[in-house]
């Protein structure tokens, strides 16, 4: 066995350093998933009306996974993610997952006009005085939380997502 040279020792040390300082990262394509919230805080309850006049109370969905999205019609990434939310809902709704999209500050007419271009079938709720969004830990639109069957905030996404991404759907399904 030969004795390593000074250069070889330095190379090996650098390699070790790099592996410690820059651990392997996941593929770039998986970066836009959901952020896990380790503390799992309790979701604030709300009671809001949808475009059909039906009232939705978050606590009445206890026992089911609920995706709660905060949005507005004028918000570009909110509009962009809506079609993928619809596709995700078509897959998840038969499995018992609930999806509620809470509009901030706009009236029914504005949202009806929006749905002509972005047809969605999941409930669009009205938070006209913004009381609900202000009681949730939200600072920008869109923001989405995934609530587990125990009523806790488990995942968060700030900004739009491709909600029909199979990896993302699996994260939601795993909470059931």
């Amino acid at each position: 066995m030969s004795i390593p040279t000074m250069r070889q020792q330095l190379s090996a040390t650098l390699l070790l350093l790099c592996s410690l300082l820059f651990p392997p990262v996941q593929a770039a394509g998986t970066s836009q998933l959901l952020q896990a919230l380790p503390e799992r805080p309790k979701a604030g309850d709300f009671q809001l009306t949808d475009l059909d006049g039906t009232e939705h109370r978050l606590s009445s969905y206890r026992g089911r996974v609920v995706i709660v999205n905060f949005w507005a019609t004028w918000c570009p990434p909110c509009r962009e993610e809506m079609p993928s939310m619809q596709r995700a809902w078509e897959l998840l709704e038969p499995e018992g997952v609930v999806m509620l999209a809470i509009n901030i500050g706009e009236d029914e007419d504005t949202i009806f006009q929006f749905t002509a271009n972005f047809p969605v079938e999941f409930p669009l709720l009205l938070d006209q005085d913004s009381a609900t969004i202000q009681s949730w830990p939200v600072r920008g639109l869109p923001t989405t939380y995934v609530v587990d069957p125990q009523g806790r905030l488990v995942y968060r996404a700030i900004g739009g997502r491709a909600w029909d991404d199979p990896a993302l759907l699996d994260m939601v399904r795993a909470l059931k």
């Binding site: 990262v25 770039a28 970066s31 998933l33 500050g105 009236d107 005085d129 900004g159």
Partner: protein
């Protein structure tokens, strides 16, 4: 051994100035200018908004002409800030109150939501309009996980046509990092018709 010690020290000292790149250009469709800063884990983009666009947006949401004009002529950009780290990477925190606007030899803060909201209340702007305003601006403070981002308007409190440098500040893994985008131009205003 001395080389290794030196290398280790340089790796562990927090870097104050991020090694990124700033680019500028214009939208081929509108001719409006944009500025973009990119470094490891961060992308920040500014797109000029004409005062007319901003006036129209807020008047459609209940602002009166005077209030819409005050904001529209305060040097408004459509902005996008992203944590571009891959999954499992570090989170990114920012607070716009740390950012600096440098025009000539004067350094000032940006005008954030917290600066504007009391004005609108004082000017009796309606609740729906104030809600739209609050949520259409880039949040003043955020913590982004990898992949998180926001779009929103930002206001630099400068007259139309002013050129300025913007120093961005963000925090990652306990380090405070900063970068400066130079020679940003506030969108010019078109002459307003007098009644």
């Amino acid at each position: 051994m001395h080389i290794i010690t030196l290398l280790l020290s340089s790796l562990f000292i927090p870097t104050a100035i991020a090694a990124g790149s700033a680019t500028t250009g214009s939208d081929p469709g509108t001719g409006l200018a944009f500025w973009r800063y990119e470094a490891e884990g961060i992308l920040f983009e500014l797109n000029q908004r004409l005062p007319d666009q901003t006036r129209a947006f807020f008047q459609a949401r209940g602002f009166d002409t005077d209030a819409a004009n005050q904001f529209a002529t305060s040097c408004v950009f459509q902005s996008r800030l992203l944590n571009t780290a891959v999954a499992g990477g570090a989170s990114l925190q920012f607070n716009l109150n740390e950012w600096r606007v440098i025009s000539g030899n004067k350094s000032s803060s940006m005008a954030t939501t917290d600066d504007w909201m009391p004005r609108w209340k004082k000017q009796s702007i309606g609740q729906a309009a104030r809600i739209a305003f609050k949520w259409s601006l880039l949040p003043t403070e955020q913590t982004y996980a990898p992949g998180d981002y926001n779009w929103g308007m930002t206001s630099y409190d400068q007259p139309p046509g002013t050129r300025f440098n913007l120093t961005l500040v963000w925090h990652r893994e306990g380090r405070r990092e900063s970068a400066t985008i130079r020679n940003i131009e506030c969108p010019a205003d078109s002459p307003q018709e007098t009644p």
